[in-house]
Amino acid sequence: MVKLKVGITGHTQGLGAAFAEYFKEEEVHGFSRRNGWDLYNESSCNALIQNMENFDIFINNAPVGKYQECLFEGVLSNWLGQDKTIINVSSIAADITPGMMTVWEEHLRPEAEDKVGAGRTGEELIQYVREYVKSKRRLDKLTNVRTLEVGLQHENKPHILNLKPAATATELLGNNVFLNTLLDVEDFMSVFDTAWKMRDQVKLTNLTFIGTRPNPNK
């Protein structure tokens, strides 16, 4: 059987590494800083988009801000109408509206200042979350539009799957103080596995999910 060719950004840690393990029987190619792919710049993104042309699956996992959108848009435009799959690792944070963010900053600031996440000060953490939310919100909107377009005009091809987990226990999470519950990486992958195995019958395109494990930092 011909192996699927799978491209994963941020493949060396957290969810990216879990995806690399999940597809270990296929031909997996990783794109991370550690192997020279700093995707925080346009030329690297363009090079990666070119590289993806003969791949079957693109896992757009690395949280590289606006470049995550560029990668999605670039790979999608090359793959329109083809039987391939793009998986965006987004976040439930995409559902936070600007109004909610303002209210929440008031609510979260004391906690954020009390406990520090991922080596940041409280104010830095708030700033990081603000930018992170904006970036995921943009990715989410773009994905929704493109999913509708692909569904209406391109025979649902490629299959776009947007995964929007709540806090997942990876290195990135640090001492997350925001949510009451967490997903672990296995829980995340079990949701993905479910969606993946259903794809011939039903195409899941957007999944928001929350863990059930108590957050030890709360």
């Binding site: 909610m100 539009v145 649902n156 949510l179 039903v202 899941l204 928001t208």
Partner: protein, 218 residues
């Protein structure tokens, strides 16, 4: 699961009827026009909300315009912090925003043939339908975030946002907008999978499309 008390709006047809079958071992109560519950009317809606206190699960299925949102908001308020479940039958239309609606207008104006029995006799009707689903989704996603921050994620809220499903509703209107559809069985398989995963990961919103070609069927 046998001991659950389940309320289903629009329980006599389509997806609502499939939920009644799914929960047949539970105590199911249906609320539809055919048994005197015209939920487009405020007094019926208020009576249902008054009745809902000791239920465990609400399947908010009937497409009753803005009253579907009112029902969700009111039941959420009554059930906040309680180990109960609200399942909203929304639509992929909920992923649209004003800009997407405008962008797609030419497409659906061309495709929509209306007709006196159609659920969407005019573009305005379709836009109202989409707007109601967008608002239901927004309300739902903000409550999901809020309950997870403050209330340990209870009640469990699940928004099911499918593409076209093969029910009477599809035949009567939007069929030629879509290229693919889901059968009711496929819809319920997605729900069953999500429902069984809820102790590991709580999927709070799921968008999904069918693989069956509409072409020439209706």
């Amino acid at each position: 699961m046998q001991n659950l008390k389940v309320a289903i709006t629009g329980h006599t047809r389509g997806i609502g009827a499939a939920f009644a079958t799914y929960f047949k071992d539970c105590e199911v109560h249906g609320f539809s026009k055919s048994n005197g519950w015209d939920l487009f009317r405020e007094e019926s809606l208020k009576a249902l909300i008054h009745n809902i206190k000791d239920f465990d699960v609400l399947i908010n299925s009937a497409p009753i315009g803005i009253n579907q949102l009112k029902l969700f908001d009111s039941v959420f308020e009554l059930w906040e912090g309680k180990d109960k479940s609200i399942i909203n039958i929304s639509s992929i239309g909920g992923d649209m925003d004003a800009k997407i609606i405008k962008d797609f207008q030419d497409y659906y104006v061309e495709k929509l043939d209306g007709g006196e029995n159609a659920h969407f006799p005019s573009v305005l009707d379709l836009e109202h339908y989409i707007t109601n689903k967008v608002n239901l989704d927004k309300s739902s996603s903000s409550k999901v975030l809020d309950t997870n921050l403050r209330q340990k994620g209870l009640p469990y809220i699940l928004n099911l946002k499918s593409g076209a499903v093969d029910t009477e509703f599809l035949h009567a209107g939007p069929s030629n907008l879509m290229k693919h559809y889901l059968t009711v069985d496929e819809f319920m398989k997605v729900f069953d999978t999500v429902w069984k995963l809820k102790d590991t990961a709580r999927i709070t919103s799921i968008t999904f499309l069918g693989n069956n070609e509409v072409n020439g069927l209706w």
